[in-house]
Amino acid sequence: MTTTPPPAKIETRDLHKAFGGKQVLRGVNLTIQPGESLAVIGASGTGKSVLIKNIIGLMHPDSGSVLIDGQDVTALTGRDREQVTRKFGMLFQGAALFDSLPVWENVAFGLIQVQRMARQDAREKAIEAMIQVGLEPDIAERSPAELSGGMQKRVGLARAIATKPEIMFFDEPTTGLDPIMGSVIDNLIIKSVRELGATALSITHDMASARRIADNIAMIYDGIIVWHGPVDAIDDSGSDVVDQFINGRSHGPIDMLVAS
């Protein structure tokens, strides 16, 4: 008797992506289990944002496939694609707030447009979400352009989690925040994963934050995942690349191409 294990929440198989002649992803294989919180680390420009955009369907891989809940979604379009997209919530690296809408409508966007909630109810929910990310409710009517970078980031986070999606992508959630707010956000991510049973993929440069929020860490280097393992094991990864990155050394296998 064999029982097949439940499918992975997210799986990428041999993802390749190039821009012009520049090969960014050269065969990324990554598996994320349901309820897992994974942090992806890697040097600037190695393709972390490109990787999540390929998973979520904003970019299409040149080859390879993406599976969500065991379903191959690589070639989905139209309504079928929208059905899958509903499982996702995403915080963009640059927040990407809608500047034609006030803060609360940004946060309530998914509730109003997708879940068809009445505007008044959606507004209340949005303000709840804003409080969760440490924003004052009195900025609800303001335009996103009037907010500081860190506040915009938190509005983006509130927008990503307001619909309580099954899968959450956070592209550098704590970059640009002060350390205290950073740990508030870390706790919020932990809580979302624990309480909602969500699966989370966070991109971060902040090792302290990665250790707090993640069960597992994956490091991307030169277009592939060079190391993937539990948080506790990262200090004994046995990989020079990982060691150099987590200790922030300027000399090692990762060559930063700076004039010396």
């Binding site: 369907g57 929208e82 509903r86 919530g89 707030l97 447009q113």
Partner: protein, 256 residues
């Protein structure tokens, strides 16, 4: 040989661009008719296009009507109220009302659409829409197409009235025509087909303006410079297409 190759390349390029615009148009029109709809956004765009374009369209129309009266007076001499009223109402309703209003709106609205949507593209707001399961064609393109097609005929109707009024003012105050006779000649010379062709043109121009604005905005890339480029392209291509279709529609209506 080199010339031939360059020619070939630009022909292929032209086909590629036409194809892309064709696909974009198909998508945009399809999403005008498939739910969910965004009436709130359509309303916002209608106010933006219809109401806020009134001053510039009105000013253009009144000066054009006045100039038409002056020119026909100096051209035909004192041929009488009937000729001048005829030239003004004919010229305004058939050609100058729709074309000049179209060009003004192309500059105002086409540019604004390209800049707004282009900025949304380069700041990843369009990607964010997608991750919130909202189709950008439905949310951004369709409301603008609907609003522009609906509002341009109204704007041209206003332009027709104000333009004729411009001619009237010059004829009464400069040439000392009898107001009642002038108005009667205007009314007698107003023919349905001329007016109607102008309104049809207006709807088509509205579609072209919104299509070019959204297309160039949607496909802009490369930061603020790309957005600037998209804005210029939107206005230039909308203006040229508008003049081309003005010719085609005129031919369909009157050259049979």
């Amino acid at each position: 040989m080199g010339l031939l190759r360059a020619l070939g390349r630009s022909v292929i390029n032209l086909f590629a661009v036409t194809g892309r615009i064709g696909v974009f148009t198909g998508n945009g029109v399809f999403h005008c008719f498939s739910p969910p709809f965004f009436p709130r956004l359509v309303g916002q765009q209608m106010v933006e296009i219809g109401f806020y374009s009134l001053p510039v369209v009105g000013l253009t129309a009144i000066f054009t009507g006045m100039v038409l009266a002056l020119q026909s007076f100096s051209g035909f001499g004192f041929a009488g109220e009937a000729t001048i009223a005829n030239v003004v109402v004919w010229g305004i309703t058939r050609e100058l009302g729709p074309v000049l209003a179209g060009l003004m709106v192309a500059g105002r609205i086409g540019a604004a659409m390209a800049a707004e949507i282009g900025t949304m593209r380069v700041t990843e707001q369009i990607d964010a829409l997608t991750t919130l399961s909202t189709n950008p064609y439905k949310y951004l393109v369709a409301p603008r197409l609907i609003a522009a097609v609906a509002m341009m005929p109204l704007l041209v109707l206003v332009a027709d009235i104000i333009g004729v009024m411009g001619g009237f003012i010059v004829s009464i105050y400069d040439f000392g025509f009898n107001p009642m006779t002038y108005l009667r000649s205007t009314w007698d010379n107003l023919e349905f087909i001329g007016f109607f062709s102008g309104i049809v043109k207006a709807a088509v121009f509205g579609f072209i303006i919104a299509l070019m604005g959204t297309y160039h905005g949607y496909n802009s890339k490369g930061g603020s410079q790309g957005v600037g480029q998209a804005t210029t392209n939107a206005v230039v291509s909308a203006s040229i297409l508008l003049l081309l279709f003005n010719f085609i529609i005129t031919a369909i209506f009157f050259a049979a």
